[in-house]
């Protein structure tokens, strides 16, 4: 275990914009090293949290520390420790890849020759050497994100914040970016990323913090969260909508998932035959409403649903996964 202050420490952090409460007493701790995900829906407070940590937004109350430095009182020291890659790649379209990185390295304190060397090394590491001399305006979405990530490394930060790093990327670019993020953590950098994709949190993060309504709803490894909140569920598919509606009425708030499009609903189970048999008898006493049943292992989706009462992301709801 690494000693010293945690990479990030938030205590009772509050922030409102007008009447709209975004952070409602958020308390959390991110240990040094590894990849940590802030998982939540749009509006859960992920971006605001990251902006406060990156010294761009002031909290209304509460404290936020990065590597032991207060983000308000010791802003300068925090800025020397961190870097932020936001939702939009913040780069100059009119400059080339190498010009962007050299400029940022100079601002981060390197001499001109050192900045150029750093830019070249980063371009190589992010597989952008061929595009180094091209203006950024000609880059693809994936290339821009890679360059943006490279840009956030010019100052050799020890804590890096990535706000939805893969939103809007095609699957291949997403995969490539995931690899890079993994490498960063391997090099000893603490990565805190926000995401609304469960797959991303599951795949990348050592620890997941679920944000809901401006508070921490749960935290742990993906496996822990699944064990604690998801367990197993029994998915029942019905012959018709009337049967589905009747079953939903009988079960009331024991229903954990509804998928009306597929005429299906789910209910928690321990997977044992007596319990499954009992549930079937309870919801379908005449034995001709249920056409199919499946016992499903918990996914992060289920954890998310249990914690927030809503599916993680709208796309998944439509896809019915």
């Amino acid at each position: 275990m690494v000693h010293g202050p945690p990479a990030v420490e938030l205590v009772d952090l509050r922030k409102s914009f007008g009447n709209h409460v975004v952070l409602d007493g958020l308390t959390l701790r991110v240990p040094t090293g590894g990849v940590h995900a802030l998982l939540g829906q749009n509006g859960a407070g992920k971006t605001t949290t990251v902006r406060i940590l990156a010294t761009l937004t002031r909290p209304d109350s509460g404290t936020a520390r990065v590597a032991g430095h207060d983000v308000v009182r010791e802003r300068r020291r925090v800025r020397r420790t961190i870097s932020l890659a936001g939702q939009h790649a913040a780069l100059d379209d009119g400059q080339t890849g190498v010009e962007n990185l050299t400029m940022l390295a100079r601002l981060a304190g390197s001499s001109a020759p050192a900045a150029r060397a750093r830019a070249t090394a980063l371009l190589d590491r992010f597989d952008l050497t061929d595009a180094a001399g091209r203006r950024v305006v000609t880059y693809s979405g994936g290339m821009r994100r890679r360059l943006d990530l490279a840009a956030s490394l010019v100052g050799a930060p020890s804590v890096i914040f990535l706000d939805e790093p893969t939103t809007g990327l095609d699957p291949r670019s997403r995969q490539a970016l995931w690899e890079v993020i993994g490498e960063l953590a391997g090099a000893g950098v603490t990565v805190l990323l926000t995401t609304q994709y469960l797959e991303e949190a599951d795949r990348l993060a050592d620890r997941i913090m679920v944000l809901h309504g401006g508070r921490l709803a749960a935290e742990g490894t993906a496996a822990e969260l699944k064990r604690r909140f998801g367990a197993q569920r029994l998915e029942l598919t019905w012959r018709d909508a009337a049967g589905l509606a009747e079953a939903a009425r009988r079960l009331g708030d024991r229903v954990t998932h509804r998928e009306p499009a597929r005429l299906a609903l789910s209910v928690a189970t321990d997977g044992s035959a007596p319990q499954v048999r009992g549930l079937l008898d309870e919801v379908d006493p005449d034995r001709h409403g249920v056409v199919r049943f499946t016992v499903r292992e918990a996914t992060l989706d289920d954890v998310f649903f249990t914690l927030t009462g809503r599916p993680a992301s709208p796309e998944r709801e439509v896809a019915g996964v």
Partner: protein, 254 residues
């Protein structure tokens, strides 16, 4: 105030960035170089015949056109500052602890550089169509100094406008204030021809002493206290703009 601190490396890097970006933005560059020339031709040939100034109109109007250029060029500053705010570039610079004054200085110096080029261009065309300044190198130098100071103040003022605006289009709108100021002054017509209320404004607004200084210094006629008044106005506006932007900056990005 920490926003006012400037680290020389930061400012130098930001200037290099903005000069490079303006050089590459060919459309905007061509407009900012050519439009002042077109404006001057417009004034000299279209309105010039109808305006009585007691001398060749081209001689009278050149100082005014030079100022109009400055106002026009300054518009670019506001737009580029607002663009930086909307792309997230400024946020990245903030997390790297680059101060507001360094960031804006980059835009302002690039604007002054662009405007210097367009000023030289306008003067060249003016001479070609009959503008005959007096040959007095020291006075030319003084005129260049007054003009540079004016450019600096107006550019920084538009950078502050850029911080106020939410979109680049709105930023463009704000700068009309700056572009409009040369009109109610002695730039294009003698103030004696204006109604008394407008004349009162025209005689006491900042553009007028700048115009009078330029006109006097370029044509080698007495200037009186005009250069001093012009310098004081410009320095005051510059201080106001720097202070205003240092105040606006943290609010705008929070």
């Amino acid at each position: 105030m920490s926003e006012l601190t400037v680290r020389p490396t930061h400012a130098a890097v930001m200037v290099g960035r903005c000069v490079r970006l303006s050089r590459r933005n060919v459309d905007a560059l061509l407009t900012s170089l050519l439009l002042p020339v077109i404006l001057m031709l417009l004034f000299v040939y279209l309105f010039g015949g109808a305006i009585e100034t007691g001398s060749a109109y081209v001689t009278y109007v050149v100082p005014g056109v030079l100022l109009l250029c400055a106002g026009f060029g300054a518009a670019g500053t506001a737009v580029s500052v607002t663009t930086d705010l909307t792309t997230g570039m400024i946020e990245r610079l903030r997390t790297m602890d680059v101060g507001a004054t360094s960031i804006l200085a980059g835009h302002v110096v690039a604007s002054v550089a662009r405007n210097t080029v367009s000023t030289v261009l306008v003067l060249g065309v003016a001479v070609a169509i009959g503008f005959r300044p007096a040959v007095a190198p020291l006075r030319w130098l003084a005129a260049a100094g007054v003009l540079l100071l004016f450019l600096l103040a107006v550019s920084w003022l538009s950078a502050a406008f850029g911080l106020l605006a939410r979109t680049p289009e709105a930023a463009n709108g704000y700068t009309f204030i700056v572009m409009f100021l040369p009109y109610p002054s002695s730039a294009f017509v003698p103030v004696e021809t204006m109604p008394s209320w407008l004349r009162g404004f025209a005689e006491h607004q900042p553009v007028t002493p700048v115009i009078e200084s330029l006109r006097g210094l370029l044509l080698n006629t007495p200037v009186g206290t005009a250069p001093t008044r012009a310098a004081l106005w410009c320095l005051a506006l510059l201080a106001l703009a720097v202070l205003l932007s240092a105040l606006l900056f943290p609010r705008r990005i929070a």
